[in-house]
């Protein structure tokens, strides 16, 4: 390790906080997201402790409202949405396409500062007294009745939105313009196709959230009736505008995870991804159709039956490309040479959990069923299977997979596998009982419940303890690895992607010689030789 890499190029604080290196900005995001993840996780822990008994014994109903709102806002906007794109994506995208940086490195740094400004504004709202509207800021509660820091919290989300937009813009332009010679669209790793689809959503949906929150805050601040039915406004319009962003945002929270899973499944079964073009176009299909299903959040909000039928139908349609992906992953496994390394454990967990989350989503897309399940724990369990079981699992899988590249160190495989298995069991124990609770009719957002629900709630809270402990484990073994782990070779997984062709950690500008791509991705089955850089 005589050559300098991006970590050893400079050690000053200035070199970190004013860096334009996409790899260092990824690390900045990574560190910030850990903080937000554990703040949001702490709120979840408090919620689960409260729900261990039917009575209110830890917090009042008012505090409970603020807890789940804080959990939602932090986890959605300050963890899930930036999680894979801004950390792994930021780090890996230029490496994967053989570029020396993103197209707009200064914009990339600026987006981190905007993100932190938004994050700090939201944290201020939370610690100054909190918000009790739920993460959806539904009117007229948020504009007329809520006695909490709604405008400040909305401002934080509004600001963070610009960070999302700039990141999406940067990825779109980078993937269009900075691909290495020979790297045609159909030679792109599928991770890039899903990040591209994600970026399209970030760029096209986020501004609608911005204008919606602006209208909501204007109504609250000036007392005008934009969504107030007493003076002609329509609260349902707020929900339409909000979900026009927030349903595509659900795909922002899963598409990058799907992208990571392609890389993992392919690498650890040593096979090309089955049906590459289908998987690639399915990412774009999900992004496109995902814009047309928002009304399924409003089946009981009083929208017309015709609208509900159309949105129900579209919601079934959007499940098709997702299902194609699941089938293609399993087909990739077929006759593969499967290795159960830690990243693969996460990938397999993802397939199972995402499938459960996706299928229960189809239940909820049925009008007749949804009327009963709306606002019950069935919905809570459903979207946690997608967002936590799917996205967070994929995030951990990707983090382990690229960890040697990012840090230049290897982690303890034993501890990594243990944590993966514990996360899987802890997750299922936490959230599967919630399906049963929801089916039995327990509503969400209450801190007290009838005693007959206690058994499932205790199981769920017990699972949450395991899950919390399992999520803390990587802090220790990955933290240890970052400083004391064995040095990683350039290509510890024998993978053909461009990111593995450069040293670990990569030098400041990624490649000493511009790589040239001459073959399709995922060529594991051909005897893979590490080509010298100057080939």
């Amino acid at each position: 390790m005589s050559e300098t890499n991006y970590l050893t190029a400079d050690f000053t604080l200035r070199s970190w906080f004013l860096t334009t290196d996409h790899k260092r900005i990824a690390i900045l995001y990574f560190a910030s997201l850990i903080v937000f993840f554990f703040i949001g996780g702490a709120a979840a822990t408090a919620i689960r402790i409260e729900l261990a008994t039917p009575q209110a014994d830890l917090v009042s109903s008012d505090i409970y409202n603020r807890l789940f709102t804080m959990h939602g806002i932090i986890m959605v906007w300050f963890f899930l949405i930036p999680s894979i794109p801004n950390t792994l994506g930021n780090f890996i995208v230029p490496l994967m396409i053989g570029a020396r940086d993103l197209a707009f490195p200064r914009l990339n740094l600026m987006s981190w500062y905007i993100f932190m400004l938004g994050g700090c504004t939201t944290l201020f709202a939370i610690f100054a007294g909190g918000v009790d509207t739920g993460w959806t800021f539904y009117t007229p509660f948020s504009t007329l009745y809520s006695n909490s820091y709604v405008i400040v919290a909305a401002a934080g989300v509004f600001i963070a939105g610009f960070s999302s937009i700039l990141t999406g813009l940067n990825f779109i332009v980078t993937i269009h313009r900075l691909r290495a010679p020979g790297l045609t669209w159909y030679r792109l790793p599928l991770f890039l196709w899903s990040l591209y689809a994600t970026s399209v959503i970030l760029v096209l949906a986020t501004p609608v959230l911005a204008i919606t929150l602006l209208l909501m805050a204007t109504e609250r601040f000036f007392g005008v009736g934009i969504f107030d039915p007493r003076i002609g406004g329509d609260p349902l319009l707020f929900q339409h505008l909000f979900w026009f962003y927030s349903h595509p945002a659900v795909y922002i929270m899963i598409l990058p995870g799907m992208g990571v899973i392609n890389e993992l499944i392919s690498c650890f079964s040593r096979k090309q991804v089955f049906g590459y073009k289908f998987v690639a176009w399915c990412s774009l299909a999900i992004a496109a159709v995902g814009f047309l299903v928002w009304g399924h959040h409003m089946f009981v909000s009083g929208q017309s039956l015709i609208a509900s039928l159309v949105f129900s139908f579209m919601s079934f349609i959007v499940a098709v490309p997702s299902a194609i992906k699941v089938f293609n992953w399993t087909a990739t496994l077929h006759k593969g040479s499967i290795h159960f390394d830690a990243p693969m454990l996460y990938a397999l967990a993802f397939i199972g959990l995402f499938t459960i989350g996706g299928l229960t989503g189809l239940f909820l897309a049925c009008l007749a069923f949804d009327v009963h399940a709306t606002d019950t724990y069935f919905v809570v369990a459903h979207f946690h299977y997608i967002m936590v079981g799917g996205m967070v699992t994929a995030y951990f899988g990707g983090l382990h997979y690229w960890w040697p590249k990012i840090t230049g160190r290897l982690y303890s495989e034993y501890w990594a596998r243990t944590a993966a298995v514990l996360i899987f069991f802890g997750f299922n124990l936490t959230f599967f009982p919630q399906f049963i609770l929801g089916a039995e009719g327990m509503p969400r957002r209450y801190h007290v419940y009838p005693p007959e629900f206690q058994l499932w709630n205790v199981l769920s809270s017990g699972g949450a303890v395991i899950l919390a402990a399992a999520y803390l484990m990587p802090v220790f073994y990955l933290g240890y690895s970052a400083f004391f782990g064995r040095r990683a070779p350039a290509n510890p997984w024998d993978a053909p992607g461009l990111e593995w062709q450069t040293s670990s950690p990569p030098p400041e500008f990624n490649f000493t010689v511009q790589p040239v791509v001459t073959r399709d991705p995922y060529q594991y089955n051909e005897a893979f030789e590490a080509e010298p850089q100057n080939a």
Binding site: N170, V203, P207
Partner: protein, 214 residues
């Protein structure tokens, strides 16, 4: 035109860099379309619900100022387009003046908008601050003016950003312009034209409803 000597390491060449920058502006404009799109959607929902109120509200707007502002903005866009067209090291002087002229027209637009706002304030047509309108159409008129103020304020904010961009470019372009400046100017011009196009839509939505039937 001379190329700037250095370019950032992620680009293969100077044209590569310049084309990339321009694509960035197009993607940014896509995001802006959706920002105004959300607002205009809300406008249409309420106009559909309160056609009479929106027509009445529209009749209370200052169509003379609005039309004058449209002319001012189109002229300013023309000056910017002219500047992009003639940009070269030999024409720095004219380019600078064209950009300053465009920025000044932008300021004229803002000033006229301010006069318009103050007139509406005098007529008690500012929801949330001072709004008095009697009769059955009051709700529709109030919603109309809420959207009027939010849309024009956001548009004016875009104008201010654009004016700063144009003035910055006017300053930079006085000295030895390169292809890099040409790209910057081209991108800023795209933005300025976009703000212009938004105004065309807002003009039709704000000033024209109800004029033919009154």
């Amino acid at each position: 035109m001379p190329d700037s000597s250095a370019f950032a390491p992620q680009y293969a060449s100077i044209p590569h860099r310049d084309h990339t920058a321009e694509l960035g502006m197009w993607v940014f404009i896509a995001t802006e379309v959706l920002l105004f799109g959300g607002l205009i959607l809300a406008y249409f929902v309420y106009r559909h619900a309160f056609p009479q109120g929106f027509a009445a509200g529209s009749r209370h707007t200052e169509i003379v100022i609005g039309t004058a502002n449209t002319a001012v903005l189109l002229t300013s866009s023309f000056l910017v387009a002219w500047a992009v067209e003639v940009f070269s090291p030999a024409t720095t002087r004219i380019v600078t003046w064209l950009l300053v002229g465009a920025a000044c027209l932008g300021l004229v637009f803002i000033a006229l908008k301010g006069i318009e706002y103050s007139k509406e304030y005098d007529e008690h047509l500012v929801p949330g601050i001072d709004f008095q309108f009697a009769g059955p159409k009051a709700n529709g008129v109030q919603l109309f003016f809420i959207f009027y103020f939010i849309a024009t304020a956001i548009h004016a904010l875009h104008m201010l950003i654009g004016i700063c961009l144009l003035l910055t470019l006017a300053t930079i372009c006085r000295k030895a312009p390169t292809t890099r400046h040409h790209t910057a100017l081209h991108s800023a011009a795209l933005y300025w034209h976009f703000v212009d196009v938004v105004w065309i839509f807002l003009f039709a939505l704000i000033y024209l409803p109800g004029r033919s039937t009154s």
